[in-house]
Symmetry: C2
Subunit: 218 residues, 2 copies
């Protein structure tokens, strides 16, 4: 029978979260590769995955965290590329700011438009989102096609979003699409270099920014 460590007597979700963040802080002693609000974001991504390799992979454009916080404070709409990422962002943290979280992937109009255009739902969902009023934050954790379409639309003159969280995961164009995003100086971005990423990480980045926004206004 394998050795089983004793269960810690910590069961309330808030207490578990606080204990978890303290463990991560202790296991990544200063000087850390990120500091201030950037560490708050990266620490939450490690909390979401228990993957310390993220310490080498998370990248921020200059001012991206500030841009994300400000967008949330002004009621930005968060656009995700999967229902999973949408579900990763609990409304309780964003509702005080009037932010909605939208995902167009299962929208029947998007499916019809994708079919008509011979394109993917992920790409067309970006077009639908860009028509929304007000500031936008894109949280892309799955589809390189979505991130590529967003960059191409910005190149084509669409207004740059307030922030792009670029974290598609995988083996085909995920790393490439993120590398392309990270060359951009015309839009604030937070990204994970290489293949890793995912809906949980894209969602957790938004949650981290919402917590930072909440702390500012508290």
């Amino acid at each position: 029978m394998p050795h089983t460590s004793p269960i810690q007597p910590i069961f309330a979700p808030d207490a578990i979260e606080a204990a978890s963040l303290a463990i991560i802080d202790a296991e990544v002693p200063e000087p850390r590769p990120y500091d201030g609000p950037r560490w708050d974001v990266v620490r939450r991504l490690i909390h979401t995955t228990a993957d310390f390799e993220l310490l080498d992979l998370v990248r921020f454009s200059e001012g991206a965290v500030r841009a994300g916080i400000r967008a949330i404070e002004t009621g930005a709409t968060i656009v995700t590329d999967t229902e999973m990422a949408r579900c990763a962002i609990p409304p309780r943290r964003l509702a005080p700011f009037g932010c909605a979280v939208r995902c167009f992937m299962n929208d029947p109009e998007v499916a019809a438009a994708a079919k008509a255009a011979g394109s993917t739902r992920a790409a067309l969902a970006v077009d639908f989102a860009l028509d929304l009023p007000g500031p936008l934050i894109f949280a892309i954790g799955n589809a390189p096609t979505a991130l590529l379409r967003l960059i191409s639309r910005i190149d084509g003159g669409a207004p740059a979003p307030a922030l792009v969280v670029g974290m598609p995961v995988g083996f085909v164009n995920a790393a490439q699409s993120k590398a392309l995003l990270m060359t951009r100086a015309d839009v604030p971005w937070i990204a994970i270099a290489g293949r890793k990423g995912g809906s949980a990480l894209a969602g957790a980045t938004i949650n981290a920014l919402a917590i930072l926004a909440g702390a500012e206004t508290a």
Copy 2:
């Protein structure tokens, strides 16, 4: 400007998936640490996260894959511990078998019962799920409290589920709860040892089993 690899001309979701699985196959040459249907499961978990460390961490009880496939083929209800894991399991793969995917975490009755019992919603959601008719598969990707409650209810005489996918992620009791699950011979389980896990992985495990079930009946 960082070097940017060329974008691969592969954009259809099915083609991306096939190319991704082929890349993983090529990067993990035989003999692999898993074979047959176990490799189909582990490969999909790597596809979900791009995390090859899973090659050392995924564990199966004897016959667990077969038990999961059979449960899906008999229309089992899949119970998840988060909305995110529920969203990770698209209905299209399970609907042909009559399987529903349920999550009780946001059920108001669960919240009320948890408050009355001084317990967590995660634990009470397990109790509600155990009252469902028919075979059950638990897919737990977030809450060690849910997995611990499930084990404790089995110890207390509740009928063992058809399969437990035990993949809570994190720093407080995640590894411990999974280590406890992995000592059990009285219930089939698939688990990730240590801290890693998550809703995406728990969901991807169900998807892998559903694909295997579909291949059998195709």
